[in-house]
């Protein structure tokens, strides 16, 4: 009977979502101020009236227990890597070892002030120095700056370095080449760095179209930004030739390190001829993604670029402090430096995690990680090449892939009438995260799949079965996928409406920053929990 069919009997089905502001009740609090020992002078006596706030900021008023429940409740509406398979192409969703959170939380790391005198921060500086060395060895480029905050920040640093390098030689170049398979941050970075984007085509093997590259590479080209393996998950066999062409024109070759996870200990950007590399520590070196950061985007460069690296640089002096022990310092005195990409020394907390990771794996482990990442990707590629799947989701370039591969949803679209988006949404009901979709752009209805090395075979097999079952289901009734998901906290959302009439903050009536929209649930006036 219906009474047994569950969902329909879920009394919470239609429940309203409340924000922390809507849980606020005047007078409640989680904070207790410490005892005040200094004279309790009124603010008005300390500060000019015109500098003082007239109305308090409308932060929520909630007790600790209810704050905890609120955010706990929100967390339960997130899918995450520790819950299940997350083959988000280009994002390297590998396991985040729990040890890293422990070592990052050590007071000597977490509670260390960024301006502490170097002599009292030797441990932190040595850690950074050791990480620089390890990253340099992995990329095959000797000089490392840990400063950039993420991959795209590293890209920007890379182009600013290129600019400084050329200007220093009296060359004024205006163009930067990016393949049509490039990630969006590449062209966006080019513009921010003051250059003009010139697109380079892709050949039938999924690599850079050499003729097109040659045609577009002239003395006005400052740099070619490349990802290798590229965003199709393919290693560009012509990389040596590419380097030759680019260097021949006096341009720099930039390596977008987002895909480094495929080649650690196997092939090094520096050896491929790249001048500048960025790393995504939150990808290859397992800083947890945090729902969109933090990350870190260190860069490594060749000798000719070194003089322009950001300041300060961590340097090592043998026993300069009398003792035989090496001594570490911050070198601010770098006349040709491009300056600072950001404040202080970068995202140190991320460095701690990535350094711990490198210590755990060592040379062998890193190579094994890349090998297994490539093994897993090719195994899943093989599983998804089985006829009843490949028929609907043909692979974009039928070659051995590296750490990821790209399928096209054209077959499913044409034969089953479901789009890649529908397949992705239906996956949500199977509790696996969908691949990256609709990227790279040159593959129609793209599904970009990166399983990473930390997934066991069973997870890959399960994913293949999920894909198969979705396609079989669609063959019966495409409506099911078209209307998926069904079991998620919310179902498909009106994104167009959100963009047309953007509501980007809680409405609270008469407050300073409030655009004036009245709250749907005026703060506190609700019994719902």
């Amino acid at each position: 009977m219906n009474a047994r069919s569950g969902k329909s009997l879920d009394p919470r089905a239609g429940e309203e979502t409340l924000t922390i502001y809507e849980r606020s009740v005047e007078g409640r609090r989680a904070f207790t101020a410490p005892v005040e020992e200094v004279p309790e002078v009124a603010l008005e006596e300390l500060l000019p009236a015109e500098a003082l706030r007239e109305r308090p900021a409308e932060l929520p008023e909630v007790s600790e227990p209810e704050i905890v429940r609120h955010f706990n409740g929100l967390s339960k509406k997130n899918f995450d890597l520790d819950t299940g398979f997350y083959p988000l192409g280009s994002c390297t969703m590998k396991h985040n070892p729990k040890l890293h959170e422990r070592v990052a939380a050590l007071p000597g790391h977490a509670r260390l002030h960024p301006l502490q005198d170097p002599e009292y921060a030797q441990g932190a500086l040595e850690l950074m120095y050791r990480l620089q060395g390890a990253l340099g060895e992995i990329a095959g480029l000797p000089h490392v700056s840990l400063q950039p905050s993420a991959g795209s920040h590293g890209e920007l640093a890379g182009l600013l370095l290129t600019h400084a390098y050329h200007e220093d030689r009296g060359e004024h170049r205006h163009k930067v080449l990016t393949p049509d398979t490039a990630h969006g941050t590449n062209p966006a970075t080019v513009t921010m760095a003051g250059y003009e984007v010139v697109k380079v085509g892709t050949d039938e093997h999924g690599g850079v179209d050499i003729d097109d590259l040659r045609a577009k590479t002239d003395s006005d080209v400052a740099c070619l930004m490349l990802t290798n393996p590229n965003t199709l998950g393919l290693f560009d066999r012509n990389i040596e030739q590419i380097a030759e062409i680019v260097h021949g024109a006096g341009a720099t070759l930039y390596y977008d390190g987002a895909n480094l996870n495929a080649v650690m200990g196997i092939s090094r950007p520096g050896d491929m001829g790249f001048d500048i590399v960025h790393y995504n520590l939150h990808k290859s070196f397992t800083q947890p993604h945090g729902g969109g950061g933090p990350g870190a985007g260190p860069i490594a460069v060749s000798d000719r670029i070194e003089p322009y690296l950001p300041r300060p640089q961590v340097v090592r002096a043998e026993g300069s402090n009398g003792s035989g022990q090496p001594h570490f310092d911050l070198d601010h005195d770098r006349p040709k430096s491009i300056g600072k990409m950001r404040g202080f020394q970068g995202n140190f907390g991320v460095f701690v995690r990535s350094y711990a990771y490198i210590c755990s794996l060592g040379a062998e482990g890193l190579k094994e990680a890349s090998e297994t990442a490539v093994l897993n990707a090719n195994y899943l590629r093989a599983r998804l090449a089985e006829d009843d799947i490949a028929r609907y989701l043909p692979i974009a370039f039928d070659r051995v892939c590296m750490h990821e591969f790209v399928l096209s949803g054209c077959g499913a679209r044409d034969e089953l009438g479901i789009k890649t988006l529908d397949i992705a949404k239906r996956m949500l009901d199977h509790e696996v995260h969908p691949p990256t979709v609709y990227f790279p752009l040159l593959v129609e209805e793209a599904l970009m799949i990166e399983p990473t090395e930390t997934e066991p075979k069973e997870r890959l097999d399960h994913f293949a079965e999920v894909v198969r079952s979705i396609l079989e289901e669609a063959a019966q009734d495409p409506e099911i996928a078209r209307n998926a998901p069904y079991t998620t906290p919310v179902r498909r959302l009106d994104e167009a409406g959100a963009a047309k009439r953007p509501v980007v903050r809680q409405g609270m009536g008469e407050n300073p920053g409030d655009p004036g929209r009245a709250a749907e649930n005026p703060a506190g006036a609700t019994g719902a929990v």
């Binding site: 706030r53 997130n78 000597g108 945090g290 093994l375 093989a382 919310v490 959302l493 953007p502």
Partner: protein, 448 residues
């Protein structure tokens, strides 16, 4: 096989078989010999978990952290108490391990957090639109410069010398990319931004004017006057603010700021030797489609249920590519979460109480030290004084486990004897009196 991977020999054999190759080697056949690494990486061998823990513990033990001394060091990052509930919430794997919420149906938690964060930042800054975070403070200032460039098409940026040195340098570094010049307005003898000097630099080609609130010396700037001077020729007025004192200070948005950016570490984030923390970016309504980074917006699902999504994505690199408003992708979501949890913990009243406490202790400290003030004007969390024998003070103090603060001469040669002292709720009256005694005795020493 490492402890983080699962492929046993049996698994490998089965998988290679399914792929149709004989060895893992074959999978790398695509890589030309010439670019293959013919040796192993020159790195130490892997370690057991306990060995890594010991190694990093030993390194950490060689840092003197804020619980290991009485520190008055601030200058951009501050030793505030981070409540324990932040640890417990941030350690939830559902917040710690997902990627940017590209699939909103299974990311409502993270998206709602962004929405709540944006609301809190909007409340603090007095500006209606906030994004979901940028990297950190100084690069947020640079991001404001990029918006100003795109908005005004002008080529000059004017900064107050009161802006954090890192922010000024970061702006200058990025400005090279923007192909813009940066000019600097001096400070008055009282350590506030010189309105006239600033006004003099602002011309028709000025895209934006940047000031800090409070400024680097701790001075509470007269934003109203500065804003007028800045906007005369249509330049954008950008305020880089420490968000915590905004609990008691008038919001920049009410004093003419078009954009308010800043470093969010003071909102529930650890010091972490400088990062990760978060930067915030708030602006006037008219810039909503010019903002950098992620923005969460409220909407409904097909069943009419309330939900949140990443909105206005056509601003962003993954859609707009070379025409994007900024190249930022990964930002600081987890740190922003710490920020919104912290603001919820402080709450409407706590934010004011903490601001009052800091202001009181700061003024008490400035008096107690009895040293000549570099910026005698209003201060709320930090102030600068002249100390005769600065090196003597540091030597003496550090020996006793006290860190007196920041030596201004490192970045402001004009204040060769300047000491910048930061006060938080962690520094008690006793701590302050102790520093005062040290300063006093060194003064005696110097005079004797």
């Amino acid at each position: 096989m490492s402890r983080y991977t699962s492929a046993t020999d049996a698994d490998r054999a089965a998988m290679l078989d399914a792929i149709g190759v004989d060895s893992i080697e074959e999978l790398f056949a695509e890589i030309p010999e010439g670019v293959r690494l013919q040796r192993g990486l020159d790195l130490a061998p892997g370690m057991a978990e306990q060995e890594v823990f010991d190694h990093l513990s030993q390194l950490a033990a060689r840092n003197r952290h804020c619980d290991a001394e009485v520190s008055f060091l601030g200058a951009g990052m501050y030793d505030h108490y981070v409540p324990a509930l932040i640890d417990s919430i941030l350690s939830r794997s559902e917040f710690l391990t997902p990627y940017t919420p590209y699939q909103p149906e299974i990311s409502q938690g993270g998206l709602q957090v962004m929405f709540e964060f944006q609301t809190a930042i909007s409340e603090l800054t007095g500006l209606p639109v906030s994004n979901a975070s940028v990297y950190e403070g100084p690069s947020a200032v640079a991001a404001a410069g990029y918006l100003a460039k795109q908005e005004t098409k002008r080529s000059k940026l004017v900064v107050s010398r009161g802006l954090h040195p890192h922010a000024r340098e970061s702006l200058a570094t990025h400005a090279v990319g923007y192909r813009m010049s940066v000019e600097e307005a001096a400070l008055t003898d009282d350590g506030a931004t010189d309105v006239e000097a600033l006004a003099a630099l602002v011309d028709d080609d000025t895209a934006a004017v940047f000031v800090a609130q409070p400024n680097f010396l701790g001075t509470v700037e007269e934003l109203g006057a500065l804003g007028e001077a800045a906007k005369r020729t249509g330049a954008l007025f950008v305020v880089a603010a420490d968000p915590l004192p905004l609990g008691i200070l008038k919001p920049p948005g009410e004093l003419g700021a078009d954009i308010c950016v800043g470093e969010g570490q003071t909102l529930g984030n650890r010091l972490d030797f400088g990062g990760p923390s978060f930067g915030f970016f708030a602006a006037d309504q008219r810039f909503i489609r010019k903002m950098p980074g992620r923005i969460a917006g409220e909407t409904r699902d097909v069943d009419g249920k309330r939900g949140f999504v990443l909105t206005l994505q056509t601003r962003e690199q993954h859609i707009r590519r070379e025409k994007a408003t900024h190249n930022i992708c990964t930002a600081q979501a987890l740190n922003a979460l710490a920020g919104v949890v912290y603001m919820s913990w402080l709450g409407k009243r706590g934010l004011v109480e903490l601001g009052e406490l800091m202001a009181r202790r700061t003024h008490y400290a400035r008096e107690a030290l009895g040293a000549e003030a570099i910026n005698p004007g209003p201060v709320v969390r930090e102030f600068a004084v002249r100390v005769e024998d600065l090196d003597g003070l540091f030597e003496r103090a550090r020996a006793e486990g006290v860190n007196p603060g920041y030596r201004l001469r490192d970045t402001y040669p004009e204040y060769s004897d300047g000491l910048l002292v930061a006060i938080t709720e962690r520094r008690t009256k006793a701590d302050i009196d102790r520093l005062a005694a040290l300063v006093g005795s060194v003064r005696e020493g110097a005079r004797a």
